[in-house]
């Protein structure tokens, strides 16, 4: 058993030597230090156990003189090694000690080499002492090394202290336009409710912008909206509502859609007006859609958009393409409804227009109003962005001053 153990150790060591290429002395030593304790230690323990049983049964007096000499020699090597290790203060010196004792020509290795002088029956015993000593020295060496490495690392880290309050190194990522932030928020909410996001043309036909929305040629609403015309029939859309008509004409029901986009009105540029701004149109068409559904949907939207505590108020209003129509106010998300400068002391902020799709509008798009009903709404994107981010001048949205954009 012991012999087998010893053989295993030797065999293991020989594996290092018989590797695919010749290892340098340092390398093999390194491997020896690292590998032996981890891989062979269980075997060694087994040997020690055996040895313990064996040694109690065998009186020491029975040893030969040669054995005594050997024992003394090994003990001396051990004492000397332990003392050297204790006094050692660098990893380099520690390696020297290892080589001088455990190396190929080391003192302990020499002892093994002189085994031939020992009586064959005593060789296991002597081998055992040597191995035991070797293990002990290796363990102490390893401990010392770990200790020293730790000390070295700590010293290094002490020297590497940094001032954590120095400025950060940022990747300098860009910033999204506040309009887009608000838009993506609206899109997220409605996509979550099963709405598809669709687009429509910005240069639009009169029919889709007005007539199909129940705004015939002489309707005053056409004046109110100060339309930019390309010619008599083609115009820049004044509202995203035309996308409703395009969507209905596709003939696919039910419809749940939102249509964000740029719209144009002939307003001079000032702090609250822009000739170009953005709207988000919403449309739901299905069987049994009610005004109550409109209220519920938009109340849900308001909570998601402006906070869980947001209350909504619907006021009767008029749009040519919806009936009944309403405007929706939300409780002021700055003051919670107590009244502040944002809501002009009213506690409410007007957010959107909405209503049940006018039966005539459904008919014009070939949808039977007796079978289908629906609701529509339109939100001004800039209005939300200005209110939500407390931007006091609409012109800032189109100046693209980086100091403005960086705040979002």
């Amino acid at each position: 058993m012991q012999a087998q153990g010893l053989f295993l150790i030797m065999a293991q060591v020989s594996v290092f030597r018989a590797g695919p290429r010749t290892l340098s002395a340092n390398e093999s030593l390194d491997l020896g230090i690292r590998v032996v304790p981890r891989i062979i230690r269980p075997l060694l323990c087994m040997q020690q156990g055996t040895f313990f049983v064996y040694s109690t049964r065998t009186p020491i007096i029975e040893m030969t003189r040669k054995e005594d000499t050997m024992k003394a020699k090994v003990d001396q090597i051990r004492e000397q090694a332990l003392a050297q290790i204790k006094d050692c203060d660098t990893i380099e010196k520690l390696n020297e000690i290892r080589v001088s004792i455990l190396g190929k020509k080391g003192e302990l290795t020499e002892v093994l080499k002189s085994m031939k002088d020992v009586a064959p029956e005593d060789r296991p015993k002597v081998g055992q002492w040597v191995n035991e000593t070797r293990t002990e020295i290796e363990t102490v060496l390893e401990e010392a090394k770990t200790r020293m490495e730790k000390a070295v690392r700590e010293a290094k880290m002490r020297a590497e202290v940094i001032d954590v309050t120095l400025p950060a190194k940022k990747a300098e990522i860009g910033h999204r336009h506040p309009n887009t932030i608000a838009l993506e928020e609206v899109e997220r909410i409605f996509v979550g409710m099963g709405y598809e996001v669709v687009e429509g043309p910005e240069v639009e036909k009169d029919y889709y912008n007005f007539e199909a929305l129940n705004i015939p040629a002489d309707h005053p609403a056409k004046d109110e909206q100060d339309t930019f015309y390309i010619n008599g029939d083609i115009l820049l859309r004044t509202q995203t509502s035309g996308v409703q008509v395009h969507e209905m004409e596709k003939g696919k029901l039910p419809i749940r859609m939102i249509a964000p986009g740029r719209v144009f009105r002939a307003d001079e540029v000032d702090a609250t007006h822009s000739p170009s701004f953005h709207q988000i149109e919403g449309l739901v068409i299905d069987k049994n859609i009610t005004f109550a559904d409109l209220k519920g949907t938009l109340a849900e939207f308001a909570k998601e958009m402006f906070g869980e505590d947001t209350r909504v108020k619907f006021r009767p209003h008029h749009f040519p393409f919806t009936e009944p129509s309403a405007e929706m106010d939300v409780s002021c998300f700055k003051c919670g409804g107590k009244g502040c400068r944002f809501c002009k002391g009213e506690g409410w902020i007007e957010i959107l227009g909405c209503g049940m799709v006018h039966p005539h509008v459904l008919e014009m798009s070939h949808i039977d109003p007796e079978e289908y009903t629906g609701f529509a709404f339109g939100v001004g994107l800039e209005r939300i962005a200005l209110l939500k981010y407390e931007i006091d001048d609409m012109r800032l949205l189109y100046e693209n001053d980086i100091r403005f954009l960086k705040q979002f």
Partner: protein, 809 residues
């Protein structure tokens, strides 16, 4: 629309609520109150005082000392007012009271002005006598007030009475936003009806009694309407023996509260009826009307006409005119003529109350360039029945106010009046549309309050008879809205749509645009937005040749100005303007991107939809160069699954870019965009004093190549073999050409090639540059042998030599 609450209350006498309650309740039933203002704001402790005696101030020439009786006591007031005399009854603000403004009539201070007892030049003064300006108004609204000095009450007022009350100032003026469908609410009676329905109080319409002597109006005037399409009804009545004078105070007060200046009894009556009934009226001096005849007909193109404001205006054949037997005397529905206007000498008045075609009036007002109170009402399309009611009301007021004598009868020229609309009563349908459960009875009560009649049709079903003033009620949805308004929008439940589930989604195009935003921002670019329209001068700034197709634009026929007159055909102007703005403001390292459309006409003139192309535009100045921008594009391509080789063709031919630093971006043979350094001349044109770089991707071209599909291709298991080559290359050969050779000739085993050094300088001969590549080969299924690589390398090197490239040792 502004009205005094007191006027509303005249027709809803039981109305009792605070201003705020009124405001909230009316808004919730659809008559939105935009705001309101109390007329007695900051008027406190102001009573009628009578001046008992006046003495000179001992120490001041311009001051007098008055003893003023305020009923319970007599107080001493020192004043500098020039117009008071003993016995005058005046408004007196007592010690501790407040007035609204100063005597100069300037802007009213928010908190008013507190009046305290004090001494003026040593003489105690225990109050102040007030001018109309100090009471917060002016002579326009109180024409009886003196030009300078203290307001003086009529002799019959009671000393000690509430002066503010006597001036009709305990009142509130509400401002409404009336929606365009509610023509009837552009009148006091319309709003009063809504108020009555809202507060469930009775509506008491003014009682208009028959007027007129036993003469016949037809002996005074005849009316002929030639263009009945533009004038469905024309009512005319005559009043004689007109006595012009001031109208009574109550009428003046009501007009003043509505923002209308009292003039004289005749003018005030027409204005009063216009406010009350929403029906504009016109008064002609009958003696100026030739042939005792009114003819209503279109003008002739090029006619000129002088309106009563003295302006000469040019007409065309779409403008409807009121004429007499010889001449034009008024523009129908807009303004009367100078030649027939009422003067103080008027003896006989012809009243006109007509209904005109709203759309025509709106157009004519625009054409003539004159939008009046009257045209503003006519253009909404008035109820023909209202014309008759209004003219009779006016005649009644003429009589009541002693303004003249009404001639019997009315000339009434009209197309047959439309019958009242009758709609079926469909309570279930209303509830179905609203998602409510309102009872039939409640609905009928609501209709009754709105004066919607219920009649039975031939089958005995209940039908709704819509009053003529509610021209907006045409169908079921309109009636459902009436139910909803007075049932209460707030009481309608909140539910979510039931029915078939739908998939919420963002289409591929928008997902790619979102990815573009993400990548641009990761790379340090912030999102800008610029206008879709710009100036045609932009093309010159960008050095676009005169005959370039980019100059063919979609042009706005009615732009805000030339600077906003064409739809952009390229996206760079907005970007360069934004960079310029930042540069001028000394912002450093500015990186911007924009996602916005350009608009290319498919044909000119435009007859159909135009080609709207989404452009992903990047621009920056500061840290970085051409290759920084190229890197952003490539990051984007990687993230949208465009993994094939991108070609950069330096022959981009963009006039606005540096000729040696520009490239078309090509993908699978298709040009998908361009990038480059901005031409120095263009930088000058935009006042950008530093190098700037721009890139534009034409998203419709990019989209077909994009995908979010990904497939795992495994991680290489076998080792790669690399070969480094160093070359001396003629300067004009692009590394792109070298890479092209390597890729073409490297064979299946070629994994990648990487430029690791490029150098021009002293050690390299003139006209050449040194270029070094690391070329990597790998097989998926085995470790490569030397011989595998050697063959591929040989082919590559042969190819390179053909370009005139020498291999360096």
């Amino acid at each position: 629309m502004n009205t005094a609450l007191s006027w509303i209350k005249a027709y809803v006498p039981e109305l009792a609520c605070t201003d705020q309650e009124y405001c909230d309740a009316m808004t919730l039933t659809g008559t939105k109150v935009e705001g309101y203002e109390r007329k007695d704001k900051n008027l406190e402790k102001i009573v009628v005082g009578q001046i008992v005696s006046i003495e000179k101030h001992p120490d001041a020439d311009k001051l007098i000392v008055c003893q003023v009786s305020i009923g319970s006591e007599t107080i001493q007031i020192v004043t500098g007012a020039p117009n008071v005399k003993v016995g005058d009854k005046v408004p007196v603000v007592l010690d501790g009271g407040k007035v609204a403004g100063g005597h100069d009539g300037g802007p009213l201070p928010e908190e008013g002005i507190r009046i305290k007892a004090g001494k003026l030049r040593g003489i105690p003064s225990n109050g102040m006598m007030c001018s109309i300006e100090e009471l917060g108004s002016d002579r326009n609204m109180y024409p009886e007030a003196p030009e300078m000095g203290i307001y003086i009450f009529p002799e019959d007022v009671e000393v000690g009475a509430d002066a503010v009350e006597l001036l009709g100032m305990h009142d509130t003026v509400f401002e409404y936003e009336i929606t365009s469908n509610r023509v009837d609410c552009y009148s006091i009676l319309g709003i009063a009806r809504e108020a009555a329905a809202t507060f469930r109080k009775p509506f008491v319409a003014p009682v208009v009694k028959a007027t007129g002597n036993d003469e016949d109006v037809n002996d005074y005037i005849s009316v002929e309407v030639k263009d009945t399409d533009l004038c469905p009804r024309y009512c005319a009545r005559v009043c004689k023996n007109i006595k012009i004078g001031p109208s009574p105070k109550w009428m003046q007060r009501r007009l003043a509260a509505s923002g209308i200046r009292p003039i004289n009894n005749l003018v005030d009556i027409t204005n009063y009826v216009m406010e009350e009934y929403g029906q504009p009226m016109h008064a002609f001096d009958l003696d100026t009307i030739a042939g005792k005849k009114i003819i209503v007909q279109r003008a002739k193109d090029g006619d000129e006409f002088q309106t009563l404001d003295g302006q000469i205006r040019r007409m065309d054949s779409d403008v409807l005119m009121i004429c007499d037997a010889e001449k034009q005397i008024g523009i129908a529905g807009i303004m009367g003529g100078e030649n027939s206007k009422i003067t103080d000498e008027v003896k006989t008045v012809l009243f006109e109350a007509a209904t005109f075609n709203g759309a025509n009036i709106r157009k004519s007002a625009k054409r003539v360039g004159l939008r009046t109170d009257a045209s503003g009402k006519f253009e909404k399309g008035l109820d023909p029945r209202n014309a008759e009611a209004a003219i009779n009301r006016a005649c009644q007021l003429i009589e009541e106010l002693g303004c003249g004598e009404v001639v019997g009868g009315m000339v009434d020229v009209k197309v047959p009046l439309k019958e009242l609309t009758v709609l079926p009563f469909e309570p279930e349908k209303y509830n179905q549309l609203l998602g409510t459960d309102v009872s039939k009875e409640e609905m009928l009560q609501i209709f009754e309050r709105l004066e919607i009649g219920t009649i039975a049709n031939s089958c005995g079903d209940i039908c709704l008879e819509i009053p003529s003033f509610r021209q907006d009620l045409l169908g079921r949805a309109d009636i459902a809205e009436e139910v909803a308004r007075f049932y209460g929008y707030d009481k309608i439940p909140t539910t979510l749509p039931s029915g078939e589930a739908t998939t919420g989604k963002l289409p591929h195009k928008l997902r790619i645009e979102k990815k573009a935003r993400d990548i641009a921002e990761y790379c340090g670019f912030s999102q800008g937005m610029s206008y879709s329209f710009e100036s045609p001068k932009v093309f010159d700034k960008l050095l676009i040749p005169a005959d370039d197709v980019l100059r063919q634009t979609v042009t706005i026929s009615n732009p805000l100005g030339e600077d906003f007159s064409i739809m952009r055909t390229l996206s760079l102007n907005g970007m360069l303007n934004s960079l310029a703005t930042n540069y001028n403001r000394r912002n450093k390292n500015v990186k911007l991107y924009e996602l916005g459309n350009i608009y290319l006409p498919k044909e000119l003139p435009v007859t159909d939809y135009v080609d709207e192309r989404m452009q992903f535009t990047l621009g920056f100045y500061g840290d970085g160069d051409f290759f920084t921008l190229k890197g952003v594009l490539e990051e984007f391509f990687d993230c949208v699954g465009m993994s094939a080789k991108k070609e950069y063709d330096p022959a981009a031919g963009k006039p606005f870019l540096h000729p040696g630093r520009q490239a078309l971006v090509k993908y699978e043979g298709e040009t998908i965009g361009f990038l480059g350094e901005v031409h120095p001349q263009v930088l000058d044109n935009y006042n950008i004093g530093t190098r700037a770089y721009v890139a534009v991707l034409d998203m419709p071209k990019v989209l077909p190549f994009t995908t979010f599909d990904r497939k795992y291709e495994g991680i290489a298991k076998f080792p790669a073999v690399s070969r480094d080559i160093s070359m001396v290359v003629p300067k004009d050969i692009l590394v792109g050409q070298i890479e092209h050779i390597i890729e073409q000739r490297g064979g299946k085993l070629l994994e990648s090639c990487e430029l690791f050094d490029i150098y021009e300088g002293s050690q390299i001969k003139e006209g050449f540059k040194s270029v070094a590549y690391s070329i990597t080969f790998r097989a998926k299924d085995r470790t490569l042998e030397e011989s595998d690589v050697a063959g591929a390398m040989k082919k590559i090197l042969n190819g390179l030599e053909q370009l005139g490239i020498e291999l360096r040792a």
